[in-house]
Symmetry: D2
Subunit: 341 residues, 4 copies
């Protein structure tokens, strides 16, 4: 059911033209004449109307706007699949009662540091190790990551600790290396609408952690998930990581209301990245606890043994001892909302 | 300590002019010549430099910008007063270990409904009753509140239930009526920078609940608190109630990171209004729990016995039974973070 | 004509309840059952439905949302009054073919400086003198204006130069002084939703320059104009002065598209304030020219003889000689778009 | 010259640690002790300090923040290259006195329509033809473009009309086809921080039209240009196309102040896309004129012979007759600001 609002003062001929076009596409029109406006209800399966078809109606003379009532995403929507999606990675499940914690350094720097961090976060209760081998940096002169060497370190760490690996893909041409060494492929915020990359990761049977873009609406995040799922890969994990606003005290504004909104609109698991969300170390613990209280299915947290030497994001990395304290606090909050960690 | 950045290519004469002006105001200048830029450190108590004096430096030829290192608020800052401010209202304390809950209808509609709601929320554990007698409405044709009649209903409700009353002031000319009937004066988001109103409420010894403006930065919120405090009234309660962003799934974007940021920068109590923050009933419970987990000192929640008949904000009001369930859940979360409710 | 979208899975009983409520208010319901959604068209004069009544429908069980097709403002809308409103101030007309320029210092500082600036801007072609006597400052410690003394200087300047005076009101209690000394009352951005102040200036027959709030939508600006007009004062001049965004290179983001949007939706004159819009002196000329090319009916520009000593906004004030050059450039652009200056 | 602000209450040892680290990297430290704060000026060529090195200072105990005075972009900056960059494409120059107009349909649909549009816009005075062969669409179910077939139509149109071709690249794997058929490669707003794609187009000697991201700051846009230029390709054309804000009357908020800001910070040509900026047909002419008045070096405008049948963006496409009228109006505005079209 879509609705076409007719411009004030539109002629009968213009209205008939809209109706004729609708009927030509197999829909029925329900015309409601108000005292000031006329609106046309579109009867039929409007979910099949594409964005561009809808636009062609908006471009007709006499039409003020087209209101789409149907959600533009399907496979990602909870009305399509009412029960929660559970994503199995090794012996872990994302989206179930247990809240999963992914932790590790922003960037993979060398084998020893990575392994040390992995052992620390595992001891504290994290199930997954994260680390960037390909790094999207604002400046071309910044550290761009160890690339394939970094992927090998991650795989080695997985072998030694048993922790599944999460890492980011930036270029569809890296897909084979990423598939070989990794357990969950991350799509970063800046690539949330890199549609070719979404289609690429959608064509493999590998879980995808999809981060919300800096200024992406919730609907656009779900449409990005739809891009992946429409290629056949239903293993999508949504991630809120802060949006861009006018506020400058925090790096981004962590939109925790996105958690219950996404859980309502979609069956996909939703995790939160408080590290990028706030960008300041001392704000991470309160926001991690808040994320769990808001209903998140998981957390992704940056941890580094020597943040002051980290090649990236040191100011937003927790040290292992602080991470351990946080994990204990998270356990209490998780229990309070009927979850476990 | 302020810093003046000199424009690339500025002349020595221009730099000397800046230094002379600084010295004329009793400061010393520390000039650092870099290979590309020169910066001038201002030595002395720059906290006394007002905004407009700072601007006159920025307007000098040769000056690119003035960086102010000192926070522009003083009385509201934690460096001025390290320990938490506790605000006593009757037998209740805001800002202590106990998280205080303020509940009630958006607008006062009639005596019977108000009293019924007050009894319900009191039973569930709320300490304060809220209700608007003067309503700031976007449209001049919308219900503007019962005005003084509404204030009398609030006072009557306090008498019958013992609950202190929170209500909004919109006009300095209403101050006497508000002072007579109310326990906490609310400054609404749209009036956060109504500086005359801030000064008015600052000149009485009555607690003020100051809501963050729709697009106010955290610094501006603290400056608004400073306006009140500079008149002598230190009883300011800060309230995060959602900011305006591009996202449309929620009425506003509730910025929960503002809670730990404000608790770090200021000694004032911080409460959260999830009802206006999200604007949709089913999102209020998760965000209320998240607010407590993030460290809020209190919550202000809209409750109505018949939201579908409410004269304002019905779609974001909880019914008493849902509010009771929420209060129980909040107790568990509060306990998990070392607080009580 | 309003539209009520029914929640997916709503029961027939819920739909009937909505229809019954509509009929109880004198409307007819036009039900369209789609394959996935049902929508209810509301037939009748829905322009009389207030915001709160609309909300009571949204709060009904089974209702997902209410879409309002009717613009919420009436008196301010071009459909209510198709021809442009012309506002006469002395021998000048705002809203006609001639683009009017208001110029002067941010704040009135002393008689001599004000008069000097007025003479300079008059010579360059400005018709109106501006200057703040009551200043809304972010900090309570900043210069708050000369208050009534400043108003007297403005009146004296008008007497000597013949230029009508524009100045800001911050508090309804100052209305009599403002009315006595001024020709156009300015409502500042921070007071755009100070509804009591809007009603106050709406009850006199004095032109009002209404500035768009920092994060006000165009619809909210028009609703603020409606507040003034609903009290009987139709002489409202709308002013775009920059909105708050994430960009930090400019003080605000000047939304010039607001000019043609407002001219389309409303019959009121629209002027632009490039000084506050960008906040940096060298950006004012290009943006002033762009404003004229976009169709603005006027400009308000800060000019100061000694910006480096200005008590406020020196960094965004033009010196008289630059203002003179700009006025000449503006004449050429105005002519190119069929206007004059 | 960078500045390190020391946290209030930091110990002497912490300050010494910062100084030691600075000296270890070959810099000198200039310590200014204020009454409330200490700041450390960094003496030496700080332009060589990368983002991550800067972060490692921010992560040191005792450091509050690092203020970078040096612009992070170099090749793109006007201080690096003071004179305007002129980009030659065939017999046309972008960045000179003549304002260049790029026009055409949003998407290439078929040969006949494309050619017809090209002939029309050429007659009206446009120098370049635009058209998307690869289309970044929010929905995976929307028309994705004719791909290589579309590129061939563009090349054919160039052959018949002599107009150079502008088209978008979405995937580095398409680079060879794009290079073969096109004259200017467009990077779309959603790919502005697709760093691998930037590096790819940076490694060829082909002009790049780089669109500002939906929520990219001006600094980030210049850093994206730097990515391209750091690979050796200096032929970058910057394009303002509207940013995402809270306003919904327009599709985006066209930030025309970006034009003079970019012209000040960089030597690269700056063009404006009013079609995407506002998204509504009737707003395009006033904003195109405003862009020219603000100093734009060019415009990119969507034109379609049958917008109501366009497969994409019909509601924001001008018909050829309106485009012709606009071009005449633009000529007058260009002349008024000392340019030609």
């Amino acid at each position: 059911m879509d609705i076409i609002v007719v411009r004030q003062g539109a002629t009968d001929k213009e209205v008939r033209q809209v109706v004729k076009k609708l009927e030509g596409k197999g829909f029925k029109a329900n015309i409601s004449k108000g005292t000031e406006r006329t609106v046309i209800g579109v009867i039929g399966d409007t979910s099949k109307i594409t964005e561009e078809e809808s636009n062609t109606f908006e471009a007709l003379p006499g039409v003020e706007k087209v209101l789409r009532i149907i959600q533009p995403y399907k496979l990602a929507s909870r009305s399509f699949k009412p029960e929660n999606t559970l994503i199995k990675v090794g012996r872990h499940v994302i989206g179930g009662k247990k809240i999963q914690v992914i932790a590790g350094p922003c960037a993979v720097e060398n084998m020893a540091t990575l392994l040390k961090i992995a052992e620390e976060v595992k001891k504290a209760g994290a199930a997954f190790i994260r680390g960037g081998a390909f790094k999207p940096r604002t400046s071309p002169y910044s550290f761009q990551g160890l690339r394939e060497e970094g992927l090998r370190y991650l795989a080695e760490t997985r072998k030694k600790t048993g922790m599944p690996v999460v890492t980011e893909i930036m270029d569809p041409r890296d897909i084979n290396a990423i598939l070989e060494y990794t357990d969950i492929i991350q799509i970063g915020a800046r690539n949330m609408q890199n549609f070719r990359l979404l289609q690429e990761v959608g064509s493999y049977d590998k879980p995808v952690l999809l981060k919300r873009g800096l200024s992406a609406t919730i609907k656009e995040l779900l449409m990005a998930a739809e891009y992946i799922m429409s290629e056949g890969n239903n293993k999508v994990i949504l991630c809120e990581r802060g949006i861009r606003t006018f506020e400058t005290e925090t790096r981004n504004t962590l939109d925790l209301s996105a958690v219950p909104v996404l859980k309502g609109l979609s069956h996909l698991p939703v995790i939160v990245d408080p590290s990028h969300g706030v960008g300041k170390r001392h704000l991470i613990p309160p926001m991690a606890k808040a994320a769990v209280a808001a209903g998140a299915d998981g957390l992704i947290i940056e941890v580094h043994t020597h943040p002051e030497n980290a090649l990236s994001d040191g100011e937003q990395s927790l040290k292992p001892d602080k991470f351990r304290v946080l994990m204990n606090e998270l356990r209490a909050v998780a229990k309070a909302v009927g979850r476990e960690i």
